[in-house]
Symmetry: C2
């Protein structure tokens, strides 16, 4: 049969991106390309204990169908944690990625326009493309989006939503300043659009003080906040949550119901138990210590190997360091050369809104490799340059 | 803020359906409305053992990110089980519902046409509506779709896909005969459309012989087969699979990647272990014995209470009995009256393609209630009529 696919998947870009990433994950290369938590970072013994308790004490609750909105005790714990208002609620989703996907499906028709940081999270860009949105990128400065550029876009275009990762952005590591968060929220009110605030790294701050989320500024329910257990507990469990206005959540729930019905109950119950009956705060504090140390190793070694030849974005948290390559370097070719020598890094291309902007940079992850491998990997990058 | 939602969720039908179902799940009513497996049917001790083994022996594999296509050993076990061909493959999805959703997203643009049995599975209808497909229903006869009616539709309309539950259909319990499966497949070739074969109840046959799936007739890769662990192991784990042509699966994988990234790895690993290291065949055989007995209780008691006043579809398997009410009865009013007296059943409305066809019937589930409750519930239905 000669298949005729839907327009949303007919474009080959998505597949090209997958291939780029696949080629960076090959063989025994040092994995600076991934966005995975460290394998040492999972509280495996606790999760083993929790799963045993759930499957002995309440197996039917974990194994039976659940409601689409999510496991009530977990929602309750998150509601308390977030200190939510009466017009808001929280639903559980299968990772923050699903939160983003359901949000744009609930709000945007095909062909409508979304604005985001450029570069931005690959998963979000793929999602916008699969939903046939028109994406406009806004350049990043060291404290977040270029606000003048953003307002210029808003003056000329009817924007439905703005997508932002305000803390330790993926891929650049940039954190949006408090002032810019306020400016972006004010622009959302002025030009009447929704903000999708994606905050998976919130708990992974290593230096400086926490900045209140855009959601905390939200007087009229226009911010959809996506949180996740992927970076703090486990990505394999696939549990995230969305905090938003109730009317928006109701639409997202209808869409989730006809997609995966509900998120794995065993996964949800594990998150709930860990959050309420174990020392989640201590665990997050250990994670910060572990990753902070790895980040320092990476930054020091990058500086030692590259000196002033590259521009290094030192983040205050998260999982990534963004390195701008010297003028004239092709990031894709550079990553291929590094991979041949045994280190995998991701070039800027898949994170770019159009893919052909001249931003020659690489994203380096410091959470997955050991400290030794971090140094070895960076040495290889140095040789490749 | 005055929200402007996407057209796909602006229609209130989906929400109406949810309300109908919610009202049938209230209070301590005997649950003839659900489609849940029996709480006795979960192999809880085995699953506890399996989860413990996974989280002790390979916690990092279960808790880390996985690939979108699914946990390789589970895919391998299913490939063997299905005896797949070279041009086909299997991916893991978060329940068969997600398989249906990804299939229509990969194949159908908004406004394109899909044909299905009328009545049909509520989750599939909601999914088609959320994807803004134009749905055409085909009447059911005791051995499946009315083929003349189907061909009439095909002659006059350009159909992209046909959705069918060939075994013990939800909600009617009807099984499509071998002859009709062949006729439907031949029509698919003649009129060049895709078949989405949804087969969650395949293993729950209580009488008669198994009929080969439409997928087994599929010479040119036009059948997308959706299977599930929800009815045979646990719905709460949210694990299903899709067997289809590789080119189709590739598109579905791109869409899944930007939705939930991958299915819970712990859930996938539990299914794999149970499938390969435990006696899955014996478990399914126990399930059949349990449900077959409950079905007999329901059918005998229905016949005792209603005699010839209603038309009872006695199925050969699955979870549901479909009861056509006497002429002049309003199924929604009848279900409200029964609920007031303490038994919850679902009226035909939410299963109808347009919702206003004059099919006055109710769907009764026999897997969830105890045998005593089955009798009590049917007594209440008798009193309500």
């Amino acid at each position: 049969m000669n298949f005729k696919f839907a327009d949303r998947v007919d474009d080959l870009k998505a597949s090209f991106i997958r291939e780029v990433l696949k080629s960076t994950g090959k063989g025994g290369a040092i994995p600076l390309a991934a966005g995975n938590p460290s394998p040492d970072a999972f509280p495996s013994k606790d999760i083993h204990q929790i799963a045993a308790k759930i499957l002995i004490e309440s197996p039917a609750a974990a194994l039976q169908y659940g409601v689409t909105e999510g496991y009530m005790p977990l929602r309750e714990a998150l509601r308390k944690d977030c200190n939510i208002r009466d017009d808001e609620d929280i639903i559980i989703v299968s990772g923050a990625q699903q939160g983003i996907d359901l949000a744009v499906k609930a709000l945007c028709n095909e062909g409508e326009k979304i604005v985001c940081e450029n570069p931005s999270f690959l998963g979000a860009l793929s999602c916008f493309r699969a939903n046939m949105l028109e994406i406009t990128g806004v350049s990043l400065t060291p404290d977040g989006m270029d606000i003048n550029e953003l307002e210029q876009i808003l003056k000329n275009t009817d924007i439905k939503a703005l997508y932002i990762i305000p803390n330790f952005q993926n891929p650049t590591g940039i954190t949006t300043s408090e002032e810019k968060r306020r400016q972006i929220y004010d622009l959302a009110c002025k030009y009447d659009f929704i903000i999708i605030e994606d905050d998976p790294y919130a708990e992974l701050r290593y230096t400086g003080r926490n900045i209140p989320s855009i959601k905390t500024l939200d007087a009229d329910g226009r911010v959809i906040f996506c949180g996740s257990f992927s970076k703090t507990l486990s990505p394999g469990l696939r549990v995230g949550y969305v905090r938003a206005n109730k009317e928006i959540l109701q639409k997202m729930v209808i869409l989730k119901q006809s997609s995966d019905v509900h998120t794995s109950l065993l996964s949800q119950m594990i998150c709930h138990e860990f959050m309420t009956d174990y020392n989640f705060a201590a665990h997050k504090s250990e994670l910060r210590a572990l990753y902070s140390k790895k980040m320092t190793v990476m930054l020091q070694h990058l500086s030692k190997v590259f000196g002033n030849k590259v521009e290094i974005n030192a983040p205050s948290g998260g999982l990534f360091v963004w390195v701008k390559l010297p003028a004239g370097t092709d990031a894709v070719k550079f990553c291929r050369a590094a991979l041949d020598k045994g280190a995998a890094a991701v070039p800027s291309v898949p994170f770019l809104v159009h893919g052909d902007e001249n931003i020659q940079a690489i994203r380096l992850n410091f959470s997955t490799p050991s400290e030794d491998d971090l140094r070895k990997g960076i040495d290889i990058l140095g040789a490749a340059l």
